[in-house]
Symmetry: none
């Protein structure tokens, strides 16, 4: 996936922040156990360098002190950056062009844990985060998956990856692993979000899988290099899986499972939750069925996933994926937005499309002319609809 | 179930109508092929005796004439009542205390086919209809059921029957039969609604099952004794299964199946549609999954069924909305069928609609013109689709 490969020139990214900022972010990323909403709010207020200085010197309010006092004298920023470089990791911060800021915008500077932004991401792999997260979907589920579940996770992941979407998951045994493998099987980019340092191969059984992900995708973590996984960290990590994507697909999950937490986080972040049904006699489908009863969209195929998340993805203004020969390549920005806004099968008026696409109605009309000339839409009686061949 | 057993004193019911009314209803029940919305409206207007007289003499408007002219000289009312008595059937009419009027109130006196009330019901069995239908749920599904489906149908039916609810189904092979058996297994009442005369054992393989249903439940039909089943009648019959119950549970159904029709009828009647999920790899779960995607409630256990229908059952005490003003009121039968067949959001060709609606393709084309004039459909490139405002 050449479009996802940053090349070695991106370690560190050329347009990156100063060494001072990098050191401050590295320090901050270790000083507090995520999610640290007080510290995140402080950084948003005074910037990372000043925030690091205040934490170091203890000049912080009670809330930030509670989050940082235990580790404020751990000065490993330079050592962590050096270790990261040796391990092939880069520190990606909000000051980097690669920062997936659009996807992470749903995190608030000061909110409850599941809405707390990461202070930085430690990233391994050749995929550029901002590009990959423009069109990304999470595929997650139970470690105790059935063959039915892993087969479906692989098929769904392959299906969305084939259409240019990045598959994000947690690299765990079971559904997560099957999802990553499904994306890799069709040469699609995939992101593994770990609950330990991104330099670690966890779970050990997935060492080879994690290596394969690096080629066109990324293995990342908000935990500094060397950090060990922990039960709490798996749950905290899940909010990043939800936050980096426009929708979360739960393939199999028990009634109490990490995937349920990811789904809850996705809901809190305003992202779509999708779930795959299964036999009601299967305990690992019970969580999916409960999610659907609570409002999640039932999906059985990749195109149903994209029907749900594609709508949202259109708003993310993702750059068109080069190198993929798509009917929509080379469209003007407005035409691409309008085309994305058109439902799969229903006809719509220009005014409706303007509202949905967020494009002025005059520009919508121009875009529709462009799309019609390309054979992508057809109209009748003032209504526009995707041309048969161009439906997703 | 003593509250359901009418005892021999209820054949005929002591508070029943006069012989004249019985004969008129028996005549009317044979003279028109259900659903006969014109005839139902006439009976609502002038009563059964006068309506029968007008039909016999041909003094009816064009619409009723179309419905009744073919059989208006078939005078078998007395013979049908005699045959019914021999076969252990009784004719239950709106003039009987046993008439399940509250449940059937959702049927309008004059509406499209799926909302057309039955003119009378031919009933066999010891259960009293009005009592049984006070708390009744339909459990329906595919003839080509899997073992998973029949097992679940039986469990769900037993679960709701144990809690005092009547299980209504169509006595077909597969899910229907399993539903009846599930109710009988816990001594619960169950109603089989047939698409042929209630004196017939159809399907033949279910002769013993139908006999067992009679003890505390009922086998009924709007078709007079001796009538044979037909493809059209199975679909028409389904509206009664939906109408006699507060909710319809679809356990397994292909994408095109009678159970889908029952679900559509339930929706039209304002009743809940529930569906049981299954493996996405199973073709007979595909219809259930589509129903859930379109808004049906996913259910996995009997208590989830009762959680859904119990709520609505409480609402049944409210008087029905008379003369509901629907955009589809007064449509020709073919137009109503075609409109019914149009999916909520997809466009279809006339040939497809003919297949789905069971209406000849020439009549489909005429119906589409009528629907377009009413603003209910729009077309482009040979495809027809519900107009935006007329979507359910």
């Amino acid at each position: 996936m050449s479009e996802c490969a940053g090349g070695s020139a991106s370690f560190p990214h050329p347009a990156g922040p100063s060494r001072e900022v990098l050191l401050a972010r590295a320090y901050l990323s270790r000083v507090a156990e995520p999610p640290a909403s007080g510290l995140v709010a402080l950084v948003a207020e005074v910037g990372p360098v000043e925030a690091a200085e205040r934490v170091r010197s203890g000049h912080v309010d009670q809330r930030v002190a509670t989050e940082t006092s235990a580790r404020r004298d751990v000065h490993r920023a330079a050592a962590d950056l050096a270790a990261a470089e040796v391990a092939g990791l880069r520190l990606v911060t909000p000051e980097h062009a690669e920062w997936p800021g659009e996807a992470l915008a749903a995190f608030s500077a000061d909110g409850p844990g599941e809405l707390t932004a990461p202070l930085a991401l430690w990233v391994r792999g050749r995929g550029r985060l901002d590009r990959m997260c423009g069109r990304a979907v999470a595929v997650v589920g139970s470690r105790a998956a059935t063959r039915y579940g892993t087969q479906l996770a692989g098929e769904l992941a392959a299906g969305v990856a084939e259409r240019g979407w990045t598959v994000v998951s947690g690299a765990a045994i079971g559904i997560d692993g099957a999802a990553h493998r499904g994306a890799l099987a069709v040469g699609g980019p995939t992101i593994a979000v770990l609950a330990c340092g991104a330099d670690r191969a966890y779970p050990a059984a997935h060492q080879a899988l994690l290596e394969r992900i690096l080629d066109g995708g990324a293995v990342l973590s908000e935990y500094p290099p060397g950090c060990v996984p922990g039960r709490h960290r798996f749950l905290v990590r899940n909010r990043l899986i939800a936050g980096l994507t426009t929708g979360t697909v739960v393939v199999e999950a028990g009634l109490r499972s990490g995937a349920q937490r990811t789904a809850a986080d996705a809901t809190a972040l305003g992202r779509d939750v999708l779930a795959v049904p299964g036999p009601v006699t299967s305990g690992v489908s019970a969580g999916c069925h409960r999610l659907i009863r609570e409002g999640a969209t039932l999906v059985t195929r990749a195109d149903e996933v994209l029907e749900a998340v594609g709508r949202i993805g259109a708003d993310l203004a993702a750059p068109p994926v080069p190198g993929l020969d798509r009917a929509t390549d080379g469209l003007s920005a407005a035409a691409a937005l309008v085309h994305d806004a058109l439902p799969a099968r229903a006809a719509r008026e220009a005014a409706w499309l303007a509202l949905e696409a967020g494009v002025p109605v005059a520009a919508v009309r121009a875009a529709l002319v462009e799309l019609e000339r390309r054979g992508l839409v057809q109209h009748f009686a003032g209504h526009w609809q995707r041309a048969a061949g161009s439906r997703p």
